[in-house]
């Protein structure tokens, strides 16, 4: 077993945040999520955090671990310096402990129309595309909407009106989809005051993405497409 020293930022609505220290044991390949479970299940049932699939797919347990946004279920305790500090994602209101209000994040996501727009009559079979056409937007299909990128962005910390990297990544996924017809409209939306041009290219989002999406590159591609459209 691996002894783990945890420092968790606790917040209760209406009260000042404070750091709580916990000592737990996890298996040699235990993850931060396992350490949090140990606390919640055996030491302090009031500790609150989100998790669902617990295997790096649903994206619900993104949090700031040792100062970096990561998925608690996808990082091993043995790879981290101790004590392991755990904080809620930055830039979003904290509901309790590690649970943040994701509503502004999803509001920005919805603003870019992240669904297939195609007014043609539905075909009798699937809408086909070539492997090359599919490859064009492959990277941005990997997004799991964990908000690790958006909440690592210093522009979003200062102003949550900025749609943020996740929304732009999800717009990118449809803008370059050969079956979609809403690309022009999405580029118009992202040309707005709070759109893609708020990005200052700090690369925090690319570093934070647990799926390894080249987020900053996707944002730059969208910016260039908006420029080409205007020219």
């Amino acid at each position: 077993m691996l002894p783990v020293s945890l420092k968790v930022q606790r917040r209760i609505p209406g009260e000042k945040p404070y750091w709580a220290a916990y000592a737990v044991e996890v298996e040699e390949n235990g993850r931060v999520l396992d350490a949090l479970h140990q606390v919640k299940w055996h030491q302090d049932g009031t500790l609150s955090f989100r998790r669902s699939c617990a295997h790096g797919v649903c994206g619900s347990d993104a949090m700031m671990i040792n100062g970096v946004n990561r998925l608690a279920c996808a990082v091993l305790c043995r790879d981290l310096e101790q004590p392991i500090t755990v904080e809620p994602l930055r830039g979003l209101n904290v509901e309790k402990d590690l649970i943040v209000d994701m509503e502004p994040f999803f509001e920005a996501y919805k603003a870019v129309k992240p669904w297939l727009v195609n007014d043609d009559p539905p075909p009798t079979r699937e809408r086909l595309q070539t492997p090359e056409q599919r490859r064009r937007y492959d990277d941005t299909t990997k997004c799991i909407l964990c908000a690790a990128c958006t909440t690592s962005c210093p522009i979003f910390w200062g102003d949550d009106r900025y749609v943020g990297p996740a929304a732009i990544v999800n717009a990118h996924r449809f803008i370059y989809d050969s079956r979609d017809q809403g690309g022009e409209e999405r580029l118009e939306i992202l040309s707005s005051e709070d759109g893609a041009f708020r990005c200052r290219t700090t690369f925090n989002c690319s570093d934070a993405c647990p799926r390894g999406i080249k987020v900053t590159e996707a944002i730059q591609e969208v910016k260039r497409s908006i420029l080409r459209k205007k020219i």
């Binding site: 830039g91 904290v94 209000d101 009106r161 040309s191 041009f197 420029l227």
Partner: protein, 135 residues
């Protein structure tokens, strides 16, 4: 209920299409590139060649501005530097001032200062006439 903090009041993204954002982004790239060469040329002529700043006096400026080329060079340097700096400062205001009223006030002040300085600089460069100066 959420914990009171800096992000309490969420403002919705402004998604109205804007041509200004894209053109200012493009301008920053072009002007930045042009400024590298203009500033290096300026530094070389004014600070390094022929004794540098020690030789700069009224006669030097009047000789330099006797022709069109150096007036155009200096005006381009002034205009690009002011506008490049103004857009950069505008971005900093957008990033750091959250309240719309303060943001608007800061931008108004910025634009006023920039256009005043640009106007005065342009007036000097365009109307300078060595023969009309006393002495």
């Amino acid at each position: 209920m959420s914990v009171a903090g800096a992000y309490d009041r969420h403002l919705r993204p402004d998604t109205r299409p804007s041509g200004f954002q894209v053109w200012s982004w493009f301008f920053m790239r072009i002007s930045g590139l042009a400024l590298v060469f203009l500033v290096l040329g300026h530094m070389l002529i004014m600070h390094v060649l022929d004794g540098g700043v020690d030789r700069i006096d009224y006669n030097f400026v009047s000789r330099r501005w006797a022709g069109f080329f150096w007036r155009a060079y200096d005006w381009l340097l002034l205009a690009l530097a002011m506008l490049h700096g103004a857009i950069g400062a505008r971005n900093a205001i957008a990033d750091h001032i959250r309240k719309p009223l303060w943001r608007g006030a800061a931008k108004t002040l910025l634009y006023s200062v920039v256009f005043f300085l640009l106007g005065v600089g342009t007036l000097v460069i365009v109307t300078f006439d060595a023969s009309r100066m006393p002495g």
